[in-house]
């Protein structure tokens, strides 16, 4: 081997140090803290801590609020993913057919990805605001009384729209790349083989996109579950009546607003387990069908 390159024993460690330090300080240490914290109970003034074992966890399973949050998270994650991917696929299929204007459309469609989630959240907040928003005004004309501050279903629709919006750009890019990697002659062969446009899309294009689709599905679900804090915080703050209080928001709320550190820590440990499980599924599955 090329040992001579690394005669200094310390050099590799020095080179690795920045990355290791970041992982250690910002991931491993907080994670360890969270696990430790999840077995403890602190009094309201932070003066005493008691070891309570799995009490924080068992409390969660008895808490209707937490179970509701699980359900809300599932609804939110699945709706956001389906909406973002569905719209992105349609847009990508449209753009893929263009010849000269392709670049312009691609650029425009990718823009929303550059908007910070909190900014996007505020945008949606303004558009949907029951008092001053444009959309409730229009919906009111159509006879629909939009109020996401009172109506849980309206609130869920709002956060799903806001959450999906910026993800559409991301999915669009992947779908477009996936579509462009399918040789044109395949579609042509299918056309000669008597398959109409929809049949071709269904029986040739979609199956060939399936690795991309699966990848996006996992990434989007993980994203919706863990990184949509900004969207929720800027629009509904989890309300009304817990109807948009997804897990990651509840972790923050219980910990930093409610000051129930033990429970919050237990919740974040469960979140960590879920993300780990999803990642494992992703790699197992994708490795098996990365190419045909």
């Amino acid at each position: 081997m090329k040992r001579s390159l690394f005669q200094h024993r310390l050099l590799p460690w020095v080179l690795l140090a920045p990355q290791l330090a970041i992982t250690l300080v910002f991931f491993l240490w907080p994670a360890a803290q969270a696990i430790r914290q999840s077995f403890l109970r602190e009094d309201a003034f932070g003066l005493s801590t008691t070891f309570v074992g799995l009490h924080n966890y068992s409390e969660l399973w008895r808490s209707a609020e937490y179970l509701n949050s699980l359900k809300v998270t599932a609804v939110f994650a699945i709706s956001t993913t389906v909406l973002a991917m569905g719209v992105a696929l349609v847009l990508a299929a449209c753009v893929d057919r263009l010849v000269r204007s392709q670049r312009a459309y691609t650029t425009l469609l990718v823009w929303p990805y550059a908007v910070a989630p909190a900014v996007a959240g505020i945008l949606w907040w303004f558009i949907f605001n029951p008092t001053v928003g444009v959309l409730p005004h229009v919906l009111d004309r159509l006879g629909y009384d939009w109020n996401h501050l009172l109506n849980s279903r309206d609130a869920m629709i709002l956060v799903v729209l806001a959450g999906a919006w910026s993800r559409i750009s991301y999915c669009f890019l992947f779908f477009l790349a996936g579509l462009q990697s399918i040789p044109q002659s395949l579609t042509e062969a299918a056309a000669i083989d008597g398959a109409g446009p929809f049949k071709r899309f269904w029986s040739i294009t979609l199956p060939l996109l399936s690795p991309t689709t699966f990848f996006l599905m996992v990434v989007n679900i993980v994203y919706a579950m863990f990184e949509s804090f900004g969207v929720i915080h800027a629009t509904t703050s989890g309300g009304p009546a817990q109807s948009t209080n997804i897990l990651v928001y509840k972790v923050w709320y219980d910990g930093f607003i409610g000051q129930n550190l033990g429970s919050s820590a237990a919740q974040s440990v469960i979140l960590m387990l879920i993300v780990t499980a999803l990642t494992v599924v992703q790699f197992r599955y994708i490795e098996r069908r990365v190419a045909y």
């Binding site: 299918a190 056309a191 000669i192 398959a195 029986s203 045909y292």
Partner: protein, 334 residues
């Protein structure tokens, strides 16, 4: 089964780029026609227009007695073999062959029968359950052929189907395609840039250059009597020697181009032509002599045992000489 006829067919892309101009061609039922020419000559565009993958800008295309200009590819009753085979990677070989039949609502038993028969013809039976990626290049090529055969179309369209194979396989597949087409009696339109493939496969050749037809004829007609200097220089390996008449005094009127095939020159101590030998290439059965006649480059082919010196005295039989107009490049008859 049907013939194909093209009447003044042309293709103009937006931006006024002309790819094909005024092509007239009558393909008889069961005939094997090869479109040949250098890259960019419009041969693939022409084929794709017949297939319905490109719109027809000018003229009419008939398959059988139907005008197909505005018909969908699926309705033209043709099958196409693509250069990259275009096999559906997510389907088994069986499904690849059956896809076109299923789309047309062929009864299940009939599909199985036709696919089995096609697979038997091409020796694909052991591979029916495999995916294309588990096949070799030659096997994939056969699957692409099989997909065309099972459809039992009025015409086969081939777009450089052998150019992704190695030389040995190409030669054997070439023969196989020819035999298969003879046996099925299906009209075939075949595009290639390889003039050997063109010569060996075709009933008739269509030589294209710059979107126009240079010559249509049987391989031997085209080889013996090229209609232009372009055809003379394109067909044959090595191609026809083309020399200004000034370099070959007494063989033709001045201000013409004289052409002769490399194998037509005869070593003749009394000959009037002198070739200064520059290089000799051994081909085994033959020797390729590169040299100059009065300063003009020429290539000759002689049997392997021929003695080659510094220079050769040659004569060329009058029957082997062809004359071309230097201004237009067209052959001068007689």
């Amino acid at each position: 089964m049907a013939g194909i006829s093209l009447d003044k067919v042309g293709k103009v892309y937006s931006g006024n780029t002309r790819a094909v101009a005024g092509v007239d061609l009558d393909v008889q039922d069961g005939e094997f026609i090869v479109l040949v020419g250098p890259s960019g000559c419009g041969k693939s565009t022409l084929l794709r227009m017949v297939a319905g993958l490109e719109t027809v800008s000018e003229g009419t295309i008939r398959i059988g007695d139907r005008i197909v200009n505005d018909m969908e590819p699926a309705d033209r009753d043709i099958a196409m073999v693509f250069q990259n085979y275009a096999l559906y990677p997510h389907m088994s070989v069986f499904d690849n062959l059956a896809y076109g039949l299923r789309n047309r609502g062929t009864p299940k038993a009939e599909i199985v029968r036709r696919v089995q028969e096609g697979a038997r013809m091409l020796g694909l039976e052991p591979y029916l359950q495999r995916r294309p990626r588990a096949l070799s290049g030659g096997q994939r090529q056969r699957v692409a052929m099989g997909r065309a055969i099972v459809r039992e179309p009025a015409a086969f369209l081939f777009d450089e189907p052998l150019s992704n194979l190695d030389a040995k396989l190409r030669a054997s597949m070439r023969l196989e395609i020819r035999l298969l087409q003879r046996r099925l009696g299906t009209t075939a339109l075949y595009v290639t840039h390889d003039q050997v493939e063109a010569m060996t496969l075709a009933d008739r050749l269509v030589v294209l250059n710059g979107g126009r037809v240079e010559q249509i004829g049987t391989p031997l007609q085209v080889y013996r009597n090229p209609a232009s200097t372009f055809v003379a220089g394109f067909m044959g390996a090595p191609p026809m020697n083309l020399l200004p008449a000034a370099a070959l005094p007494g063989l033709g009127p001045a201000a013409t181009i004289i052409g002769f095939r490399p194998e037509d020159a005869v070593i003749d101590p009394a000959g009037e032509i002198t070739l200064d030998v520059l290089a000799v290439e051994e081909l085994g059965a033959q020797r390729l002599i590169h040299g100059r006649i009065n300063g003009e480059p020429a290539t000759l082919v002689f049997p392997a045992e021929t003695e080659i010196g510094e220079s050769l005295r040659l004569s060329i039989p009058a029957s082997a000489l062809r004359r071309f107009d230097p201004a237009t490049g067209r052959a001068i008859p007689g």
